[in-house]
Symmetry: C2
Subunit: 220 residues, 2 copies
Amino acid sequence: MAYRRTERVLERLAGRREDILRAACETAAEHGLAAVQIVAVAERAGIAAGTVYRYFPTKADLVAALLKAIAEQEAGAIRSAVSAAPGPLSALAAAIVTFATRTMRRPGPVNVLLTEPVERELHGLRRDCRRALVGEFEAAMRAAIAGGHLPDQETGIGAAAVFGLLVECATDPLASDRAGPAAYRQAAQEAALLALRALGVGEARARGLIVQVPWPAETA
Amino acid sequence: MAYRRTERVLERLAGRREDILRAACETAAEHGLAAVQIVAVAERAGIAAGTVYRYFPTKADLVAALLKAIAEQEAGAIRSAVSAAPGPLSALAAAIVTFATRTMRRPGPVNVLLTEPVERELHGLRRDCRRALVGEFEAAMRAAIAGGHLPDQETGIGAAAVFGLLVECATDPLASDRAGPAAYRQAAQEAALLALRALGVGEARARGLIVQVPWPAETA
DNA sequence: AGTCGCGCTGAATCCTGGTTCATTTCTAGC
DNA sequence: GCTAGAAATGAACCAGGATTCAGCGCGACT
C-alpha cells in the first residue's frame, strides 16, 4: 500500500475535471458544438487527449456535462434576477430582460442548447435542458398569474413562446449590428416588450416594468 | 460525334437531379441533416453513390440545394396563404397560422433550417434561408402597418420574434402530445394568438382573425 | 450493325476524429 | 532514496463517411 488518494490529490483531480469541462464549454460557446473535439479540448485544458478519458468515459458524457452546465448557468442567472425583483410581474420582466440581454451579449451558450447534437442519445438531454430554461419562465408566469398581475393562460405554451421569441431576436442577423453594451440593452428591451405583450401585458405597463430591471451581471 | 445530348437525355438528367434532391430533402425531413449521407441518399434515389457527384460536385452543394428548396417551399406556402387573404391584417394572420400549422404537422423541414450544419461554409446560406422566411412575415407586417391595421413598429425584430415564437411552440415537447389534425389546429391557433398579441393585436381581434384562416393544404 | 462518347457503377481510397493502451511520470508511504 | 500503484501521455488504431476512378453498358449517329 504505497499510494493513497490524499486530500491534495483529490483536489487536483476535481480541479482537472473542472478544467476539462470549462475548456469544453468555452470551445462550444466560441465555435459551436462541432468544435468540441477531444484533442482540441484537451489541448485547451493543457492536458493530453487520453487524459480526458480518465474523467469522461466517452465524448457523449463530456457533452452531456457541458449541456447541463450551460443550462444550469443560464437558469441560475434567471433565478437570481427573479428573486431580486420586488414583485411577481416585475420578476417575470426581470427574467425576460435578463435572458434576452445575456443571450444577445453572448449568443454562444444558448446556441449550444438549441443546436442539434450529432449523438442520438443526447437529444433527450438537450430537450430537458431547453425545458429547464423554459421552466424558469413558466414558474415566473405562474407566480404572476397567481398574483393576478397577468391574464390567466396556458403557461406551457406561453413560456415556450417567450423563449423562442427571445432566442430568435438574439440570434437574428438583422439585430446583429449591435455595437456596444447600450445597443444590447436597447435590443433586449425591444424583445422583452414583444414578449410581455405576447403574454397579455399592455404596452405601457410592459415598458415601465422593463426599464426598471437592473443591468444583468457579466458573469454566472 | 456519335453522342449528343438530345432532348430526351436532357430530360432524364434533369429528372435524376430532381430525384436526388427529393431524396435528400425527404431524408433530412425524416431523420435530420446528419442522416443526409451520400450513400443513403443515392440508395433512396435508386442510383449509385458515385452518380450523385455527377449532379452535385460536393456534399455541401447538395445540402445547400436542399436548404434552398425547403426554404422556398415554406416561403411559398406562406405567400400563397397571404395572397388568398381578404385584407392585410388577415393576411398576416394567415401567414402566421399557416406556418404554425405546417410546422406542427411536420416539424422536420423547419428543423433542418434551424439545425446547425457541420460545414462552416453553410452557415451563411442557412442564415439567408431563415431570413427569407422571416422576410415573409416582415412583408405581411409592413402591409398591415401601411394599412393602419397594426401599430407602427420595428418590423425586423417583430418578424423575428414571431418566427422564433412559432418555431419554439411547434418544437416544444410540451405540446408534443398533439394527437390528430384537430389538435394541430388547436395548438397552432394558440401559438398564433400569442404571436399576434406580441405584435400588438388585441386578443379579441386576434381570435377573430385566426379562426377564419382556411386550413392549410397538405402539400407544397 | 458498328462505333463513339457519355453517364453509371460501386469498390477502393482518403480523411477526420473518437478511442485505446503500452509506456512514462508522478505521489505516498517506507 | 526506493517501491508500488495511480495518473498522464500521445502515438497508434479504428470506424464512419465523403470522394475518386477504372471499367462497364447504353443511347445516338452513320
